[in-house]
Symmetry: C2
Subunit: 332 residues, 2 copies
DNA sequence: CGGCGGCTTGGGATCGATTGCAGACATCGT
DNA sequence: ACGATGTCTGCAATCGATCCCAAGCCGCCG
């Protein structure tokens, strides 16, 4: 592999000039510049990123930390991060903490010396850990808020309000909610949103069915509670749980949406692959990733957290209700 | 951030000694070694990976290139790669080519200077591109064969033979196969395997229903063909297509498995989330990723492709038939 | 015609580690 | 007691770029 010295020799100039011809063309006479460029072209020269990184103290590289790559939600976030970073010429280190928050500090530390900044999707780890991470290098949070840190999140309160509005319009007046893990940041946010929306509507009763595991299996228990409470609609923490509810209801001979309506959250691909197709809330998952990278890169460029960027980050990304076949008018 | 010089100063030794205390402890007297280690500990010193990479010509870093991170298959492969690499202390650059084979050479080139080797999951790009990639740095292929390159793949022929054996044992004698894209390497392999298995069994007719898109929607057309041909069982190219078939059959009032049995391939999570739960073939997807990293690391360690490793790679990873509710005895 | 300023260019220090080489010192045998 | 051998340590080169500083050269102005 050719280096700057080889190019210099071929072009009959010094290494300094080669470097300048590439990074600060204005400082080099056009004649020399072209000679250097031609030589570089001929040798297929590209500056060694490691050497450049050492000298500049910047690796021109980003890191991404997610709890589980097989979770479609984070797969999409990863895809978005990846796409935007690639467009900006930044390769991305991806690490999967395997749902283990205690592994995160170690991974952040491993990243710290190799990347210029990291995107952290860590719904479960505590504030303290996060704060320590940020002390080491620029960090942008995804789907998670912290007053003094840049973050991108979805407007869950609005999303869930759309859901309740939809159900209300159909005529539902007694709606069950199957919550997720108590520790989930966004789960708490959605529950709040639901209560606020219900209060605004006035004539809707929200029945808390309980807290369930955010997986297919968690939906079984939720379905049984829903039937027991006699609600006409169930709002689930996420799509997987909603699918479990659908399955369980079918098993018990309860018809969806004739007897009970079911709504999910996230709009994972599977939502369209079941019958009835699931009414759910689409969140811009790749958009979260892209936005996070935008924020991070602007931070790196300006050297500080841009207040305007921070403010616009507070303005959450919109969620969108997607109405399919699992919701309908309640039984008479 | 502390560097070797700081540690040296604190411990009252030279930088060389610091370096040696950490990388070649035997060459340093135990007294000094402990002094150095204590100093390093106190300052929280970690060798700068960039500087080390420059000097050694090794970045201690791997790359992974996949066509689509949102595809559960590649998400799992990525997870496997990630897990094994992490255990070995290698961070992983992940790039998503967005299903665009022409983007791959560029991404490989971007990686080339930054990583020690790459894992390439590229079912669609041509041999020539791959060969050029390998000229630049060590590459291990996933789910794709090339005689002179290390690769890991699944024993699809055996997997599909298990499927046909299962159907045969249930009594099916006329089995339809819904193939995937003609360009798919592993698809061709499965089709071959099916023919061979049918021949061995003797009294089974395999009806080729045609070539369909490997998505949910592709299954609709396949289902119609299956009904038209009067087969008692359908083997689909992958799970998504099988789910489409299930949906279409249900829509047409054809009962699964009473009237027709359906089998998928891959065992994606969704397979258990539908009714009837899908009989399918589980392929060790994270295992592929792990194995690929093993191969790559041994290549990097030894400096050449280990013949024994290559041979053991030829020995494909086992596929496993998972029998659920979408297969049963054919109608009388 | 001398000097000053601007434009180009090269020399060499620098980033932070690793490592060959050689010097310092101790140990051991004779 | 002296040389040989071995152990431990430091000096300095090295990886490949970037960039400060100074030098060379040109033209222009007084």
């Amino acid at each position: 592999m050719a280096n700057a010295h080889d190019v210099a020799q071929l072009a009959g100039v010094s290494v300094s000039t080669v470097s300048r011809a590439l990074t600060a063309p204005a400082q080099v006479s056009s004649a020399t510049r072209e000679r250097v460029l031609a030589a570089a072209e001929r040798l297929g020269y590209t500056p060694n990123p490691t050497a450049r990184g050492l000298r500049l103290g910047r690796s021109h590289t980003l890191g991404l930390l997610v709890p589980d790559l097989e979770n479609p939600y984070f797969a999409s976030v990863t895809k978005g991060v990846q796409a935007r970073a690639r467009a900006a010429g930044y390769p991305v280190f991806v690490a999967d903490s395997e749902e283990d928050p205690t592994a995160e500090p170690g991974l952040v530390a491993q990243f710290a010396r190799r990347v210029d900044g990291i995107v952290l999707a860590s719904p479960r780890s505590d504030d303290d850990t996060l704060r320590k991470a940020v002390a080491q290098l620029p960090v942008v949070l995804v789907s998670r808020d912290m007053v003094d840190l840049p973050s991108v999140a979805v407007d869950d309160a609005d999303g869930i309000a759309q859901v309740l509005g939809h159900l209300h319009a159909l005529g539902h007046r007694k709606v069950g909610v199957a919550a997720g893990p108590a520790t989930s940041w966004s789960g708490a946010r959605r529950l709040d949103g639901l209560r606020v929306a219900a209060e605004r509507l006035g004539d809707v009763t929200v029945v808390e069915l309980g807290s369930f595991r955010p997986y297919f299996s968690g939906g079984f228990a939720a379905a049984d509670h829903a039937v027991a409470q006699g609600v006409t609609a169930v709002v689930a923490f996420n799509d997987l749980m909603a699918l479990g509810i659908l399955d369980r209801l079918r098993g018990r001979g309860v018809k969806v949406p004739q007897d009970v309506s079911v709504v999910g959250y996230d709009d994972v691909d599977v939502a369209t692959l079941v019958s009835p197709a699931l009414t759910t809330v689409r969140v811009p998952r790749t958009g979260l990733g892209r936005r996070a990278v935008d924020l991070l890169l602007s931070w790196l460029d300006t050297g500080h957290v841009d207040d305007r960027a921070l403010a616009s980050a507070r303005h959450r990304l919109p969620a969108e209700l997607v109405i399919r076949d699992s919701t309908g008018v309640p039984p008479a």
